[in-house]
């Protein structure tokens, strides 16, 4: 009996799928905002997309937190370093937007979107790695 394979087929929440959905909303918000430059985007639309992404992310984290049989050690080992990597990536992008003197409203929403992006990618990677451990 192959125990490793059983580990991959056990009942785990759809963390990967929810991460992709959450990322799709923030990336959508970013694309919409950038495509409206130099005009102000419809902030209600952008705000809604970011909030939906945040909600999906929180649901995802809540579902994952309830999992008992999981290699949390490896999960935290991976998420720690990927968070550092994606904080650097998002930090550089935020620097570009700050450097371009983007309006404070747009900048706040873009920063919120980038933070959500920088949380979702490490969560997705760490979960994928840990589920096979």
């Amino acid at each position: 009996m192959n125990t490793d394979t059983n580990k991959t087929t056990r009942n785990l929440p759809p963390v990967n799928l929810l991460c992709v959905i959450s990322m799709a909303f923030v990336i959508g918000a970013g694309v919409y905002m950038v495509s409206e430059i130099p005009y102000a985007p419809n902030y209600a639309v952008v705000f809604s997309l970011v909030i939906v992404s945040l909600l999906v992310f929180l649901v995802n984290v809540a579902m994952l937190a309830k999992v008992s049989m999981f290699n949390w050690k490896v999960f935290f080992q991976v998420i720690r370093w990927t968070l550092v990597a994606y904080a650097v990536i998002s930090g550089v992008l935020i620097y570009v937007f700050v450097f371009d003197k983007m309006s404070s409203k747009s900048l706040s929403l873009l920063i919120a979107a980038l933070i959500l992006f920088a949380l979702n990618v490490p969560l997705n990677i760490a979960f994928t790695v840990a589920q096979y451990q």
Binding site: I27, V34, V96
Partner: protein
């Protein structure tokens, strides 16, 4: 045989993230920040063109050359290749993507191409959408599979079935991003010659 347990002798001590490569990434990111902060058109263009070309070529090569070859190799041969190839890709891809996007945004702003009344604005939006889809595939499917394979290979007895399953995911998503890069080439050559 998909559930082949790869011989533990094949498992070697390799680093998932090569430390020396991190120094190179640090230098490149620092240079990118300098390019943006000095607003040098040449430097911004350099980072966008070099980063974009590297990104596109790597995706096309992975998707249409390396991917199909990997698919035909035995699981142990794939594992051997992956151990040497993937750690480098873990550092190269995020770096070239960051350089391309950050410098590309600055370049478009520099050349007044971000404005909504730019006559090829729709082409620009199309490029954002293509990049968005590629980002979702790469960050949602490809990169997690890549890291998970490396962790599997670090085990004393890596599971061939898990590696085969994750590599299949990697090969298909690399093919999809490769196909999307053709759209990028069409859009970028259109924008560059306008």
């Amino acid at each position: 045989m998909t559930d082949t347990i790869i011989n533990s002798q094949q498992q070697s001590s390799f680093r998932i993230v090569p430390a020396a490569g991190l120094c190179v990434v640090g230098v490149v990111v620092a240079a990118l920040i300098v390019a943006v902060s000095t607003n040098s058109l040449w430097a911004i263009d350099f980072f966008h063109v070099v980063g974009g070309a590297t990104w596109t070529i790597l995706d096309l090569f992975l998707g249409f050359v390396i991917g199909p070859i990997l698919g035909k190799l035995s699981v142990s041969a794939r594992a051997e290749f992956t151990k040497k190839f993937m750690p480098k890709m873990l550092l190269i891809m995020p770096t070239v993507v960051l350089c391309t996007l950050a410098a590309g945004f600055q370049l478009a702003r520099h050349q007044d191409r971000l404005v909504a009344n730019y006559h090829l604005h729709l082409w620009l939006i199309a490029s954002y959408i293509v990049v968005a889809i590629m980002a979702l595939i790469a960050l949602g499917i490809l990169e997690p599979a890549n890291v998970a394979v490396l962790f599997e290979l670090k085990k004393p007895t890596p599971n061939g079935e898990v590696i085969a399953k994750l590599m299949k995911r990697f090969i298909y998503s690399a093919g999809a991003t490769g196909a999307m890069q053709i759209a990028t080439l069409v859009i970028m050559t259109r924008l560059a010659t306008s």
